[in-house]
Structures are given as C-alpha cells and as structure tokens.
C-alpha cells in the first residue's frame, strides 16, 4: 500500500505521459498511412506494435550489436574519465599545469568537439581504436572541468580544520577534497556518458564491422522494406544513451548519497 502510494505520487504523471505519447504516435501513424496516404508513411512514423514485433523477432541481433557499441563506448568512457580526473588533480596541485591547460580545457567546451570524430577516424582507420578513442576524448574534457570545479569547491573553513590537524597534503586530498569533489565528478560523468555512446555510434556510421550504428545504416539503405528494423536500431541507440546516464546516476546515489538533491524531507523541489 505504502509502496503503491509512492508510485502514484511520483511516477504516475510520467507513466500517463508515456501512455499518452504512445497512443498519439499510433494515431499519427494510422493517420499518415490511411488518411493522408503520405509516401513512405511507415518509415516516417511506424506503428509501435509493429516495432514490438520486430523486437521480439530480432532481439538477439539487436542485443549483440548494442552490446558491442556499448562496451566500446564504456571502455573509452572509463579511459577518458580516468585521464580527466588525473588532469583535474594535476591542475589543482600545480599552478603551472593549470595555467597551461585550463584555457584549452575551457575552449574545448566551446568548440564542436564531435566534429573531430571523422578526423580521428581518418587518422586511426581502425574502427575499434577509433571508437574507444573518440568516446574517450569526448569524456575527457567535461570530466576534467567538472572534477576541477569540485576539487575547488572545498570551503576555507573545512581546509582550515585540516590544517589545524596538521594534515599531510595527500590526507587533505583523501579525506576532504576527493569526497567534496564527488558531486562535481558525477555531473561531469553524467554529461559525458551519453556523449561517449554518441561518439561510438558516430564512428560506426562512418564505417565499421559491428555495432548498432552499422545495422542502423544498413537497414536505412535497404529502404522501406526494412523500416521497422531501422527504427528498432534507432530506439536501441536512444536506449543505450539513456541507460548510460541512468547507470551513472545510480552509481552516484550509492557513492555520493549525501547530496541535497537526494534529500527526502525539507525543500519544496
């Protein structure tokens, strides 16, 4: 009963919205197909029940290709995250490194960094390496910047407390700066995770042997006869992006549960 009421209060509206959108979509699909008789109607807005049928038929293929994309994105993501955190720590330790790299890190936030993907692909020519590399370097900058912001967010009194304990520098990092930086790190990771997936799919679209992007492109070229399969790959791609975000959010709840956003009482948000 208690569980149910929580479900009602928090997720009912979202649930209703989803149902409403699905119904609207089905209606639009029917309208396009039978009323306005648009060309390629089912390619534009396919029936959702047809998509579900496709999913049950080709679930294994979709799963295998999705997994290939996701694991490559994940490896690159981890690599980029580790390097990003490392740079942030170096920047917070050394004024020199900070002055040297900070302007470039900021500029990287202003330029369309995904545009570099074809170039990296052009240099590497190896799909596996290119996927990992692009996922990694897309992850790198947001993580580095947000982690640095987190490391700097420590307030003076908290630092003074550490000084009053005559804490060694590594102690200050371990006991104070790292935990204080966790929320910042996670906001960087949450930005980066879907981007890493995007980068991996992008490389696959440019030419690769396996991955969800590859069958997406293939089914697109096959034309209207493969439109349900094409739409299924699009949905899997979107799902991978959302999944990556949810996984990081879940991790955050476990590793940094003290944050204001997670508080159940108080505040009217």
């Amino acid at each position: 009963m208690g569980m149910q009421s929580v479900l009602n209060r928090r997720w009912l509206p979202t649930f209703v919205w989803i149902i409403g959108l699905v119904l609207f979509w089905e209606l639009a699909s029917w309208f396009l197909l039978h009323v306005s008789e648009a060309p390629m109607a089912q390619s534009k807005i396919p029936y959702i029940h047809e998509l579900i049928i496709t999913f049950t038929e080709y679930g294994t293929t979709l799963f295998i290709e999705g997994r290939a994309t996701f694991s490559n994105a994940a490896i690159g993501f981890l690599l980029g995250a580790v390097l990003g955190v490392t740079l942030a720590v170096l920047m917070s330790v050394s004024k020199w490194i900070e002055q040297l790299t900070f302007p470039y890190a900021v500029a990287s936030q202003m330029i369309p960094i995904l545009g570099l993907a074809p170039i990296v692909y052009g240099i590497m020519r190896d799909e596996q390496v290119a996927r990992i590399l692009i996922a990694g370097y897309i992850t790198f900058f947001p993580v580095a910047l947000n982690m640095l912001r987190g490391l700097r967010s420590v307030d003076t009194s908290a630092l003074e407390l550490m000084y009053s304990y005559a804490a060694k520098p590594w102690m200050i990092y371990w006991k104070l700066r790292f935990p204080a930086a966790l929320p910042g790190l996670f906001s960087g990771l949450k930005i980066a995770a879907p981007l890493a997936v995007t980068g991996a799919i992008l490389v696959e679209l440019m030419g690769a042997q396996n991955g969800i992007g590859v069958i997406m492109l293939r089914n697109l070229y096959y034309g209207p006869s493969h439109n349900y399969m094409f739409w299924s790959t699009v949905i899997v791609g979107a799902f991978l992006g959302v999944m990556s975000y949810l996984i990081i959010s879940l991790l955050e709840r476990f590793l940094a549960p003290w944050q204001a956003d997670f508080r159940t009482n108080g505040g009217d948000r």
């Binding site: 908290a158 003074e160 000084y163 204080a180 003290w258």
Partner: protein
C-alpha cells in the same frame, strides 16, 4: 625594550619547566589546575593589505593565558578578535610580534596536534555521518579502530547525541550540528580548545543551554579554552577572565577577572555580581 627580552627569557624557562612536569602527570591536569602560561602573545600586530587599502587589524596585543584557563576574547565586530584567535591557531601569521604556545611556536603546537578548533559554522563534512565526523581527527591521528569507536561513543554521550550518530549533518538542527563540531574538536583531547563565536548563529535559549553544557564538558576535559564572542553575558558566564578588545585598530583595552564560583549555574545570570560585571565591562568600552 631591554626589559621585554629579560621577561621573555624568564617565560621560556618557566614554560620549559611546565613542559616536563606536564608529561609526567598529564592525567591530573584537570584535577589540579596548574596555573602556568600556555599561550603567550608578545606585541602582536596584524596588518591586512588589499589592493587599495591597508587595515591594521591588531596592534601590539600582549596577552598570556594560563594552562587550563577559560578565557574569552570579547569585542564588537572589527576589533580583531577572530584574527587574534586565528593567529593563536597558526592559521595566519602576525606581521609583527611573537607567539608562544607551551614554550614553542604556534606552528610546532599545530604540528603536534595540540589544537581543537570550533568555527562559527559547524563545518561538518557533508559526506560523513555524525559519528564519522567525530571520528575524523582520530583517523588523522592514526588511532586504532576499536579505540576510535569507544572514544566516539563516549564523545557522543558527552554531547548528548547518542541517538543521532548515524544521521547525516543536514538531518540535524543548528545547535546539534554545533555540538557535533565540539565533540569533534574534543576527540583528540586537545590541550587547547579554540572557539570562534561557536554559538552566535543560535537562538538565545539554545545558546544559554549550550553554554552550560560547554562548561560541564570543559570541567571533565580541562583543556585551555579561548572563546571568541561578542556577547557580554556569554563571556562572563563562561570565563575565568575576559579580554576586552576595542576596534580601529584592534587592541587589548582591558582584562576583567570573573570571580564567580564554579560550577556556574543559570541562576548566577540573575545575581547582582553578574549585573555588576556586565556594567563594568560595558564601562570599559565607554572608555575607549
């Protein structure tokens, strides 16, 4: 000038003596209050410089605080009382003058982890539960885990927060948070407890209750306490001596002895002596 240096030599001799005696009978310090100098400031000045201005926050402050003594630094805002406390804590260095803590420099005392500090805000670490916050200094000292748990439990009992040990700081009221901060400061059994307006953010009722609790805790641990406040009654209620500071530039204007007997009780706040002391201190401000 010459007289100063000779005084100084005597002081060094004295403090060295107390240092040896102290190591022998550490346990009894709280019982038999050994009235020897613990903190000494000699002609301390502090000049703050910003881009365009220079502010003399402290001018020639000479003070000595005895071991096991409870003193207050009292004054209006801008009189440099917090600056003085921070100098004692080795968080900043004075631009002029000397500071000695137990005969050594303030830095040596800090590195020997002799200080417990309570700030104006609790400065609890958000990611640590109450018990983990109190545990923090013990971890830094490298105390064994089993001993840490015992110590944290007894500290929680001391500040009356046993039921809240598994809560996060944000789940506590301001007064409770400040009690956690006090427990944390006491965790490493500091020789010197420095408190920077710890109760100023609390309402009058909680403040008076915490004043009494602080005294009862202090009677058990017996540290030297330096307590910064801008409340005259609070300083009188708590202290053995009140150091009155006046602003522009910050300097020591008078030292008032508080002869009220211990243990202090809330009833004393209404006694004629208490009111007399309030008006005495107030007069010492008028004179500025």
């Amino acid at each position: 000038m010459k007289r100063d240096t000779t005084c100084y030599l005597v002081v060094i001799l004295l403090t060295n003596m107390t240092l040896t005696s102290e190591t022998q009978e550490k346990g009894e310090i709280s019982m038999t209050i050994v009235r020897t100098p613990e903190i000494q400031l000699d002609q301390v000045s502090m000049l703050y410089k910003t881009d365009t201005t220079e502010v003399l926050a402290l001018k020639d402050v000479t003070v000595d605080i005895k071991q096991g003594e409870f003193v207050s630094l009292l004054g209006p805002s801008g009189c440099g009382k917090t600056t003085l406390l921070r100098i004692m804590a080795d968080l900043i260095q004075p631009t002029n003058g000397e500071i000695k803590v137990a005969g050594e420099t303030a830095r040596t005392a800090r590195l020997a982890q002799k200080y417990g500090i309570v700030f104006q805000s609790p400065v609890l670490y958000d990611w640590r539960k109450v018990k983990q916050n109190i545990n923090l200094p013990l971890e830094m000292l490298g105390v064994k885990k089993a001993e840490r748990e015992d110590r944290v439990d007894s500290l929680l009992e001391l500040v009356g927060l046993e039921d809240f040990k598994d809560k996060y700081p944000w789940q506590l009221s301001g007064g409770m948070q400040q009690r956690v901060a006090i427990a944390r400061a006491l965790a490493m059994e500091p020789e010197i407890l420095l408190m920077d307006e710890p109760f100023s953010a609390l309402d009058e009722f909680s403040r008076e209750r915490l004043n009494e609790e602080l005294l009862s805790i202090w009677s058990k641990v017996g540290s030297t306490v330096v307590f910064v406040t801008h409340s005259i009654p609070e300083s009188i209620f708590l202290s053995d001596r009140v150091f009155v500071l006046s602003p522009h530039p910050g300097r020591l204007s008078s030292i008032v002895d508080i002869p009220l007997p211990r243990p202090r009780t809330q009833g004393m706040r209404n006694s004629p002596e208490f009111f007399q002391l309030i008006s005495d201190i107030r007069d010492s401000f008028e004179g500025v």
